[in-house]
Amino acid sequence: MSIVAIAFPLDFQQPVWLWLCLLIPVLILATLRSLSGLDPVRRVLAVTLRCTLVLLLACCLAGIERVRRNDDLTVIFLMDRSYSVESLQAFQEEFVRESTRNIRADDRVGLIDFARHAYLQQMPMRGGYYLPPGRLPQMQNTDRTDVAAAVRLAMAMFPHDTAKRIVLMSDGNDNIGDLITEARRARADGIPIDVVPLQYRHRNEVYFERMIAPTYAEPGEQVPIRMVINSQQRASARLAIYHNGKLHNISPEDSRVDLEPGSNTFYIKLPIETAGTQTYEAVLTVDDDSMDTVAMNNTARAFSFVAGASPVLIVTSDRSRDVVLFDALRSERVVVEMKTPDQLGAFTLLQMMNYSSIILSNVAAATFTDRQQEELAIFVKDMGSGLIMLGGPDSFGAGGWIGSPIEEVMPVTFEIKHKRIIPRGALVLIMHSCEIPRGNFWGKEMAKKSVDTISSKDYLGVLAYTYTPGGENWEVPLDLNTNKAAVKARIDRMQIGDMPDFGRTMQMAYKELTSGRGRDAAQKHVIILSDGDAQAPTQKLLQDYADAKISVSTIAIGWGAHVRSQTLIDIARKTGGRFYAARNPRELPQIFSKESSIVRRPLIVEESFRPQLISASADLLGGLRAGQRGLPELGGMVLTSAKQSPNVLVPIVRATDDGEDPVLAYWQYELGKTVAFTSGYWPEWGKQWMPWPRFAKFWAQVVRWTMRQESPANFDTYTKVEGNRGRIVIDALDKDASYLNDLQLRANLVNPGADAVPIHFVQTGPGHYEAEFPVDKSGQYLANVQIYNEGKHMGTVRTGLSVPFSPEYRDLSPNEALLHNVAEITGGRWLDMAPEKADVFSHDLPPSEAKRPAWAWVLAWLFLPAFLLDVAVRRLANWLAISIAVEIVVLAVLLFGMDIRFGPWWGIAGAIILAELIGWTIRFRYIGPLFDFVTHGATALAHAGERSTASLEQLKSARDRARDDRDEQPLEGLKRIDEKVEPRSERVAKRRFDAGDVSADKPAGDLGDALGGAKSIDPSSKRSSTKNRRAIRRIRAMKAQRLDCFGQGSVHQRIRAMKSRSSEAQRSHFSRQANEQRGTTHGQ
């Protein structure tokens, strides 16, 4: 097939089908016999068309493909925009611009820039590099470099029909991914990677190599902290040490350090006073700024776990209300702290780990970021700590916690599962296209968060301006939020358009909330998410909203100055809603959570009831007895449903006619324990609980049950960061200092992204266990290792490591070895030169081959027309019909097959002219003689020219003699003819449908002639025309002989003469048949 591919730009997927072409000779033989009734021209045409049909069919079955070969070149530039080469961005842009200045018109240029992530900035396209200087978007996350991702993206973006080349501009300091693996893939794809090394060298630099603190410490101990600082030059600096966020007091003399070139190690001892997690941070300030180029690498962090009872934390939005619980717990000797959300600070997992249990007392979900909620869940399930949620207007479903990670770890769902008629809420989201990058993406994400946040008993609808169908539409019709997955899928499919006017969508929402599906909702709320540049609604509409008590909150989405907030402020103010200016996408989840929870007010029940203790023997309440009058009354609660799990225990409930609502529920979830108390003890709901004598004992028991059980296994642990990998090493020895082998270590690692991922320990020596994990983010990595020996829990090891800054900030020079390696693997060039000399677009790569399936085109535009022509040639009555058929087919193939109808006007006109030309050529039979010439040429070759003519003449003479003999014996002839009456009549009938010489010689008549079909033949006219034709033939034969004798005359005349001679015998035969028929008729 390769020979075929070189000769023709075609290839075949399954060439075995081409063996079908062997049928062509068989077909020729069979067809010549079956089409013997046709005149030679038609016969040759028909045979040719049938052979063509077989050939085309074979091609289609073989999966014919068009092959396009060209030496066009696509070069994708990879621009390193990480921190280490920030100062070289202009150089890189200039390199691209200069390299692409004088390239071929068909060569294409693409650009990808990268740091932690790779972004396509210019699709590979003709016309060079068009981004103006300094117009590249600001790069995010420059603290890491992932060259491999950029190479991967480039390979995906190459067009398939050009030669390919990657030009990598980088310092080679790749700190995520595996560049060598990607380079090998590029080589496999035949893509060379040329390297433009970015050169720099920081000669004056001071940075922290590491800070080492013991993993475990005891209260009262002096913890030794070791700091390793690297300096390029001799320098002096000051060290500040922070212990648990507070500056450690050291004298100015002690804080001063003198640094020698190379590594410098310093020690300090810090006193440990409290239990829990101890964090340490060291900040280095170099006296002479010129000695330190990069500031981000002057900080180091570490932490230790200090044994001892960790306190319990009460998070409350109102300290005065929860002081009663605080005092009660202290009276029961529970170590407890109380903080408002403002006092929590960053509240990372590491800080949460200072506490053994956390109580959320009427705190709304919006108080915490998504990340904090995720870490709270990890705090419970992976770190084995406790979490208690107390009821209140901002708790459970009413506080916007539905669908949050906290709901997952709690023993109750925040939805109402059983049938109960409660007032519904209705929430309508109005989505407006935002003219900022990823604005619509964030809009959709927040809409989905709303779907999660509100209950399935509430109404939810989404309105947006969309294009299909055009206009304002209910993308999610207002209905019960039961099928959340389906609603989110619809939101994902939304194509948010550029809404001209808030008025129309607000009018639609108003109508649906007041007289449509949402009319029975007790709480009606609308959220508009917009960049604010749509037209404001009318004042009347806003007044209608206010009258109907439908609040509208507006969220201006835009991270820059592009927010038209005044209209949004007006809408919110006049309808009793709130306005938010979200300048950062991270703010959006909290805003949406808060706003969506407005419709959840109906989940709060504010009526007095006496809770029933239905299971006093539960371990949580062991020893507690409900007094004779039962538990004290409560004045309200938040409705929830106990989870359908055997682990969930619900000892206290509120009994109603509809069933039992959990008041107190608890369970152990993975390693941690959680409790839900859906009511409150403050005066509004728990007036009788505060004076209850067992109040303190009750809460102390509940809290103690949830507290993290510390059972540390006293094994040595060691953590280290090596390149992109972190490593945890555990040495397991028993009290006799014997190695503990074959232990089962199960661990979850919580990375700085708040993702808990399992890590696997491998025993690499006697009692020596190691686990590795990727370190691609800066921050704290915490691991909670559960150790089992033959299925028995031996204890827990908590460990971790701190990555204060990215290795990006530690790179002092390029990694040329890696870059050389990449160029060598892929066959790329080392372009350490000016762009004009680099010749990035040199066409020294093998030409590309692009294959496209062509069988469908062949089938539609060659096979089908050929088939129609085949039928036309055999069936249509005369050349006029054939010519029109050919004309139509040619026109259809040209216009539709070649897609000329979408071409320029002269293309269409040309197609029509060409079709007409072919049609008229056939009509005037200009092409007929050519076929005759070909036919007779072939015959002459087969019969060796003159010899065949002589043989023909002999045959003619013999036939003439035979005819003369037969004419002389009419009676015997009549008898013979009588015997063949039936077969002859069949032949006559067949000829009526044939397009033989009779009709060919006849001038075009009517449509019946043109399109064929049966037609009666008048015997008398046939007789007279036969006489005329015989006379004409004789004249032609004489003329032809004369021409042959003189060897003169035009080709046309010679062809006609040949034709006349060759068909003489056949026509004589037909005329004899006619005579015989006449004779027979007369005889009868």
Binding site: G127, E435, G470, G471, P500, D533, Q535, G560, H562, W905
Partner: protein, 305 residues
């Protein structure tokens, strides 16, 4: 032969029909289509405004903040960028009789002036609701005396007049007009009689004012029938002084007589040539052709109406 003759005549008629420009080679009279989705020369990322020189080039501005210049057949000539685009991109583009390009730099609340090769010449206006201030300007028009008219929306919803030396003169159209204030005047045009035509988009109507702000005519209301409008985002005065209105949501052009009679309509929603997808603008260009900004198809369609 008779049928051959008939067929030939038919073919010839078809070829003449197709070769002549009017209802051309593709359905509905589209003479040409240029542009595709992309960031390269000749490609568009959601084009939103167009202006054409009477016998010269066509200028298109897209949501990438680029102004591209094409010849009358859609052949790319040059492009330049708006000086600032972080806050948003322009939606209005007009050509002064002296050849300067006036861009309603919508999200920067100003009008920016270029020469035809993209050199920044001047700009006027600042954010605000007072005299000489704009809120989201949408379009620019010029009268015979050189006075500049600028439409704006979202709060201001008015037309301001500026002297040829870019000094504020007055605001018109800021009161009630036929029972309703202007709501997003998306486009303005001044006809040969010296009257101002306004595409009052969110009221789904066309307003005709004298240059002093006196109401002359209003017509149109929301709907899809003849004479009804769905967000008229642009209008243009045809050579025979009829009003061509481009309906953003209606996906069509509609021609009106000056007394508001709907004369004819062209286009429907879709992706194929002759169909429109959220068109933001249309203008008369060289040889009486109409150039339509087929925004969501990221292309320009040339129509011989």
């Amino acid at each position: 032969m008779r049928w051959a003759g008939v067929f030939t005549i038919l073919s010839a008629a078809v070829s003449v029909f197709l070769a002549c420009e009017p209802p051309a080679l593709t359905p509905n009279g589209v003479v040409g289509v240029f542009g595709d989705v992309g960031l390269g020369p000749g490609s568009f990322s959601y084009p939103r405004a167009i202006a054409a020189e009477p016998n010269g080039s066509v200028f298109v501005i897209d949501k990438n903040g680029r102004i591209q210049r094409f010849d009358e057949n859609g052949l790319f000539e040059t492009f330049w960028r708006m000086p600032q685009t972080e806050q948003g991109k322009p939606v209005g583009l007009s050509i002064h009789p002296d050849g300067r390009i006036f861009v309603a730099d919508t999200h920067y609340h100003r009008v920016t002036i270029f020469d035809r090769s993209g050199t920044l010449l001047d700009s006027f206006g600042r954010e605000g609701t007072g005299d000489g201030e704009f809120l989201l300007p949408t379009d620019v028009a010029f009268d015979a005396s050189g006075v500049i008219y600028v439409s704006e929306y979202q709060g201001n919803d008015r037309i301001t007049k500026w002297s040829p030396d870019l000094q504020f003169i007055e605001a018109i159209g800021d009161g009630e007009i036929d029972g309703s204030r202007l709501r997003r005047p998306a486009a303005i045009e001044i006809d040969a009689e010296g009257t101002l035509w306004i595409a009052d988009a969110c009221n789904h109507r066309i307003v005709r004012l004298s240059l002093d702000g006196e109401l002359l005519t209003t017509f149109g209301h929301f709907g899809t029938g003849p004479g009804e409008l769905r967000y008229p985002y642009d209008l243009s005065i045809s050579p025979d002084q009829t009003i061509m209105v481009c309906e953003y949501e209606g996906n069509r052009l509609q021609w009106f007589s000056k007394d508001g009679r709907s004369l004819r309509r062209w286009g429907r929603g879709g992706r194929r040539p002759g169909e429109l997808f959220a068109p933001w603008g249309a203008t008369y260009g060289p040889k009486g052709r109409v150039y339509i900004v087929d925004s969501l198809n990221s292309r320009i369609q040339i129509v011989r109406p």
